[in-house]
Symmetry: C2
Subunit: 211 residues, 2 copies
């Protein structure tokens, strides 16, 4: 006869079940990696649209039964709106497509680890599967600073697959910030040159006046 | 001569400075409570609009230099969108009003503690001051489950004032859920009655056929 388990033992058992489910799920997705990569490539396409606008290149797609039902890319500066993140735009479109705020049978693909707002929106929309390109160690909320997607205290948890087309997604970000630094560097050089020219002109003007 | 401080000592000092600033800020807001209550009453008005639609009554306003520049109320089921939370709607309108995604000189008033998505949006929009009516112990992310608004790991932290018109905001929620229970109760009673009638009719029909 089995003895009655304590609450603590039950908690441990629940956690172990969760861990096991997570591992099994990851294993299954690993086997279907090439299929998932196809969707992440679509997210990368979206990210490139952001880059073309001079925005941080982040892209997202939402898939239901093999069909993309929502796309989005970062337009924060262009739209002058905090809500113009890639994931929020994709969630808005997907909700419109299915006619429900619950996206319970959908998978979300995003090139960069979501921020606190987007991770929150994913949980609020009850999206069950999230595929991430590269991580964002300083601000990401799907495992870096926080892990809002797999938090047992919330009423919904997502399965999370990290590092899908990681190299491509990471290069996209690195390339963008390298260009930005070069551009900013060139701009400050130009500014310094103009400043020097102005100073020289001033000095020469003074010398002419003095002579 | 003062000795060089260790990193740990510096951290402690920084935390203490933060705590002191927080206390001072709370003290100042306490003195201006009646002014803040005026804005919270506007948020309550918004919440009542949600209740009128049969939605969970949550309302929000955003104030800049004494002027309300964004209003919002929960329309999640009506709009069939996760993004139709009160705070998100108010942030969208406020951003449009100021023409910037940064709401750096604004204060946000909300009747219920924000969820993970809305707390995230507040941080992303860099709103510096947040006034909360009542707390949401099971799902709130401004001190209950998480405290995303005052997290030192993020690049922005808000000052948070809790319990503004708490009783009124709390009663709004309690009233809504009481009505909902009554309604659901009445509906199930109605359903049970109909079922009983159907059963009786069937039995009587059988008896008539048998006799």
């Amino acid at each position: 006869m089995s003895r009655i388990r304590t609450e603590e033992e039950k908690q441990v058992a629940r956690r172990m079940t969760r861990e096991k489910q997570k591992e099994d799920w990851l294993q299954q997705q690993e086997e279907k990696r090439s299929g998932h990569e196809r969707y992440m490539k679509e997210a990368v396409k979206q990210a490139k649209k952001a880059a073309a606008l001079g925005e941080v290149p982040i892209g997202c797609v939402i898939v239901q039964e093999g069909k993309i039902i929502g796309r989005g890319y970062n337009r924060r500066n262009t739209d002058k709106s905090t809500l113009a993140h890639a994931e929020i735009a994709a969630i808005r479109r997907a909700s419109r497509a299915v006619g429900d705020w619950r996206l319970e049978d959908c998978a979300l693909y995003v090139t960069l680890e979501p921020c606190q707002m987007c991770a929150g929106a994913i949980i609020q929309a009850r999206i069950p599967e999230v595929f991430i390109g590269c991580m964002n160690p300083k601000a990401g909320c799907a495992g870096s600073v926080y892990n809002l997607l797999e938090e047992p205290a919330f009423n919904h948890q997502a399965h999370v697959f990290r590092g899908l087309l990681e190299e491509e997604c990471s290069q996209l970000m690195k390339g963008f910030f390298k260009d930005l630094r070069l551009r900013t560097g060139r701009e400050s050089q130009e500014m310094a040159k103009t400043e020097r020219r102005r100073e020289t002109a001033k000095t020469e003007g003074r010398q002419e006046t003095e002579s």
